[in-house]
Subunit: 361 residues, 2 copies
Amino acid sequence: MIMSLAYGTQSAAAPLERMEIERAEPKDDEIQIEVMFTGVCHSDIHQAKNEWSNTVYPCVPGHEVVGRVKKTGAKATRFKEGDIVGVGCMIDSCRACEPCKDGDQNYCEGPNGWLATYNGPMTPATETQDASNMYGRDNTFGGYSDTVVVKEDFVLSIPEGLDPAAAAPILCAGVTTWSPMQHWGVKAGDSVAVLGFGGLGHMAAKLAKGIGAKVTVLTSTPEKIADAKAQGADAAYVETDKTALTPLAGTFDFILSTVPEKHEVGALLDLLKRDGHFVVVGNLDIVDGVDNSKLAFKRQSVSGSLIGNLQETQDVLDFCAANGIAPEIEIVDIKTINEVFTRVENGEVRYRAVIDMKTLS
Amino acid sequence: MIMSLAYGTQSAAAPLERMEIERAEPKDDEIQIEVMFTGVCHSDIHQAKNEWSNTVYPCVPGHEVVGRVKKTGAKATRFKEGDIVGVGCMIDSCRACEPCKDGDQNYCEGPNGWLATYNGPMTPATETQDASNMYGRDNTFGGYSDTVVVKEDFVLSIPEGLDPAAAAPILCAGVTTWSPMQHWGVKAGDSVAVLGFGGLGHMAAKLAKGIGAKVTVLTSTPEKIADAKAQGADAAYVETDKTALTPLAGTFDFILSTVPEKHEVGALLDLLKRDGHFVVVGNLDIVDGVDNSKLAFKRQSVSGSLIGNLQETQDVLDFCAANGIAPEIEIVDIKTINEVFTRVENGEVRYRAVIDMKTLS
């Protein structure tokens, strides 16, 4: 048993504070990672505060984790000590269902679905799986910690040339926007609109631009327009600017909504071309205003998408390294994490906070 | 000018009655068709009663038209006198926009979109089109008539072996359900659910079965369950039967909603597999209950689709002929058309009324 340091919380009402946690020694197929950087995702806040009503305490958030391999299990061969590696939202899946066999671990249909990096239930993922193969706790602990232990096949390789701190947000914000663009075939020359310009939205815009699409950012925050353009967007407008948007009717192949709140899509469907896709990744509520008098006349779709699979996660890391793409990050001290949470909630971070885990010691 | 007999209405409140109308002589690229059979589509009623607030009177409905070629324009070469032909929902499009160039005339983006077989505006479809090429009336007149005159490239060939009366509903109800199954790639072995079992729904079930899919019908009318099975559905349930539907969660590749009213889709999304498509063709309202906590976790889509293009219409006619598929029809006398409308509105027709145009004389 490794005694490890982490930041976590004991209840929905309590702030995150330093705590000592147990981490299992790496088993045969696992590796132990010394965490260097962990991105702060909005869902860390939802989970820590039990806003999804499923949090098990103590809760240690963090699923955008980059670190250095410290120890490898006896049969773990993919990585060696010192390698820079990443861990995203998942650390296991059933490996037996159709999605898992197709490599879509993020849509695992095993009894418990995929195992989340934190707050994942410590129960076997299949009926035949050996319970002793699990981690001996009620819930998984995430990357706000000096150490994580993960099955090696759920560990990503951080390519050389990618700054380890900037790589962290690619593991969630990056792949969550990359995966739907790949699935729905966004390609060079396409017109893409990104709705919402925060952690996910700014990555979506950079990745779409990297693919060669023409990118338009639609934001609720006028002050972000200049940033969006500076980061490479071809155009950026306030999402309610009818004068700007009316001439854009029927011009987009793909609209990706990264808005983290429930919102209307009715007027936005007007912006899509025939056979256009409107994909929602930022929010899990009812999508209001899905109007079939619009969908049918242009054979449009409204779709959802959840994170991305392991191969897509490796692909987007490699794509970012090869194309010089990196999220805009602000490196923070873990001792300020509660203030950082408030700033994320207020939309004040530009554009992703990343914890430097050296500040934990 | 041909003086022609038709059934139409002079106002939203008036019943349909026999009237004399003018039909232009066929121009170079047109053919004149002696109408044999015309299907009664629910939209005929919406239009005749101005329920879409866009009806121009007098209104002569009918867009499931089968007849015999009587006269061909000087440069019309596709058909000869005596050929059995069909006319569906469209009789012209701009031919210049991207959808038209792609063969998707049903998504024409010309200034007026595609020209509807009835109640279509008699204005040029493109800015450069010669207005004298149009029909010299305010609005197009449909197939509740002894004669129609149509540009030959919007005329379909009715294959030998297809009963001309039964062919009529294929021109709208058939292609409207065929087109989305083709577009979204429904194939042999897929599991397809058809929601609603009327004119469109019963054709959807027959076509999906013909493709080789496993077909489940979901209806609001318990008495239709036996019919659905008799017509080849593998299973049929009342759509609110939770005992039957709960075990079917996550089992359908494709759900086609043919329900002609606004309805909730929330619970139905549970029935879809990963990457499943829920396509609405029966209704043009807001689709209620599009829940991204369901869509995202299985990367599902909710989509619309409008009729089908000319090639798809010919394809579904040929497919029906080759596979012995025909709608269930009830041949009616045009003098009873007002009672037939009431029976359609009450869901009493099994499953499509087709007017025998001999009864007009």
